[in-house]
Amino acid sequence: VGIEAGINPTDHLITAYRIHGYTYTRGVSVKEILAELTGRKDGIAKGKGGSMHMYAKNFYGGNGIVGAQVPLGAGVALACQYQAKNEVCVTLYGDGAANQGQIFEAFNMAALWKLPCIFICENNKYGMGTSVERASASTDYYKRGDYIPGLRVDGMDVLSVREATRFAADYCRYGKGPILMELQTYRYHGHSMSDPGVSYRTRDEIQEVRGKSDPITMLKDRMISKNMASLEEIKDIDAEIRKEIEEAAQFATSDPEPPLEDLCN
């Protein structure tokens, strides 16, 4: 949400497989996202892509091979530069993928050719079940770009993320080349549906983050304490959202699956 607020809809974004939120912020309806998760014909990819492969205008997925999206993002940035429309590409990857060789190949070419690419490492402290200390010789992900300037940002604070993204986007738009941001964040649930998420960390750790640094709670508290919104207004927003999600869930479970004729189309 913070990232999207710092760029324009005409800019570009690409990430790995944890895409449902990004697909939404890039303009796809909740209905189409949920219907894709349940493999229905009115899902955004017509049921052909599933949870990991959703696309939209200026949103390039949805990539299952972690690390691959980074050179792809640098390529989108190349196209931005080639077409001279003053656009940038936000290219996200996680702490797990951060050690992929192709990321460093992309860094090299992006810096060499001054591509307008904002590389963002979402560091949620665990690559699947492996903590950062067990995977990386250096966990200063914002420094791993070496010759590419890097910032470390509190990824749990929406406003910090927005400001940092604005700064990074301006940097790229001025033609100074690529820039790197590390967003420090956390993953509450397990890696995927089959991971309870507690064999490699303690429940206490999860509770603590939820209690002290939850982004939504933090923003809500800030808005209320500064009189930017009242408790009732927040309750109304909550109710509205709940309704929208329920309708979308209804649709996603009732919409028919794609017909067999679509198999080879």
Binding site: I44, I65, G75, L112
Partner: protein
């Protein structure tokens, strides 16, 4: 000797004027002798000119003018923006090219050898080939991957593998393997204009071979459709199906067999995927004998695929003998010249196979 080979390879009566013992005369102005290398360059030049979105990237394509000089002169004409030298980072620059294609450009990626493309295979297949389908038709990837494939003289095992079967296996890719100069030009132009990812398998042995280029093929809009094979030589007794540099061997073998009264029909596949089975079947229905000839390894190869499909289709009931395949030997390519020569199908191997199939 080299001259003789080039005459045989051109498959037509293109005897260079120099060898004629009569008065010196030049070829008719409309027909030209063009090497495969120059034909490829012409295709690139014309497509770069025609569409602003087309650009080239790869190692040594710009200032060095191409590792095999295929892109000579292009950087001088089009500059840094459209002809990009990359560092030696195949997976990185392939990913960048695919990303640029996703964002609407039309890149042509050069691999110094398709052996190096193995580093990039994830992007060719997972990022390019599968994307149009996975996105439900939302995200096309219009890109061409080109470069020399298969055998080259004296380069040994890591530089001589044929990837036709590997890439031919993948739905979502088109795979093209030209032989002649016209093939190279017409097919490369079609590949660049195609909205799908296309793997364009050239061959180093063919780069310097000249072919006659018809007047028609010299036009800037000369296209050869992807997916259509060509009958290079008509015959009634046996069908030889091949692709790339091995087509030359088949033509040479056919000339040898003709002296014994055996007329081979030589089919130049031109495209590996989608394969023109109709052309093969039509020919088999006439000749009743089929032999596939390729430079690649036997197991799970192009020949194996053709033989399986012949069994599944109408051609099977016309066969008078089992269809067979002649392939490269199932070993990594050795270095010593004599060993290397015997690792690829020789004229004598093709002749032997034909005579055995025909039971003569």
């Amino acid at each position: 000797m080299a001259y003789l080979r080039s005459i045989l390879r051109s498959g037509k009566n293109a005897v260079p004027a120099v060898l004629r013992r009569e008065f010196h005369r030049t070829l008719p102005a409309a027909v030209q002798q063009v090497t495969v290398r120059d034909a490829i360059k012409e295709a690139l030049d014309e497509e770069l000119e025609r569409d602003e979105r087309v650009f080239l990237l790869g190692e040594e394509v710009a200032l060095f003018e191409g590792a095999y000089k295929v892109t000579r002169g292009l950087w001088k004409k089009y500059g840094d923006k459209r002809i990009i030298d990359t560092p030696i980072t195949e997976i990185g620059f392939t990913g960048i090219a695919v990303g640029a294609a996703m964002a609407g450009l039309r890149p042509v990626v050069e691999y110094m050898s398709f052996n190096f493309s193995m580093q990039s295979v994830d992007h060719i297949i997972n990022s390019a080939a599968k994307t149009y389908y996975m996105s439900g038709g939302l995200q096309p990837v219009s890109i061409v991957f080109r470069g020399p494939n298969g055998a080259a003289p004296g380069v040994a095992a890591q530089h001589a593998q044929c990837f036709a079967a590997w890439y031919g296996h993948v739905p979502g890719l088109k795979v093209v393997s030209p032989w002649s100069a016209e093939d190279a030009k017409g097919l490369l132009k079609s590949a660049i204009r195609d909205d799908n990812p296309v793997v364009f398998l050239e061959n180093e042995i063919m780069y310097s071979v000249p072919f006659e280029m018809s007047e028609e093929s010299q036009s800037k809009d000369f296209l050869i459709p992807i997916g259509k094979a060509k009958i290079e030589r008509k015959g009634n007794h046996v069908t030889l199906v091949s692709h790339s540099h091995v087509v030359s061997r088949c033509m040479d073998a056919a000339a040898v067999l003709a002296k014994d009264g055996i007329e081979c029909e030589v089919i130049n596949l031109r495209t590996i995927r989608p394969m023109d089975m109709e052309a093969i079947e039509t020919s088999v229905m006439k000749t009743k004998h089929l032999i596939t000839v390729e430079g690649g390894w036997p197991q799970f190869g192009v020949g194996g695929e053709i033989l399986a499909r012949i069994m599944e289709g109408p051609g099977f009931s016309y066969l008078n003998a089992p269809a067979v395949r002649v392939t490269g030997v199932d070993i990594p390519m050795p270095y010593a010249k004599h060993l290397e020569e015997n690792t690829l199908p020789q004229i004598k191997d093709i002749v032997f196979s034909v005579k055995k199939t025909l039971n003569v």
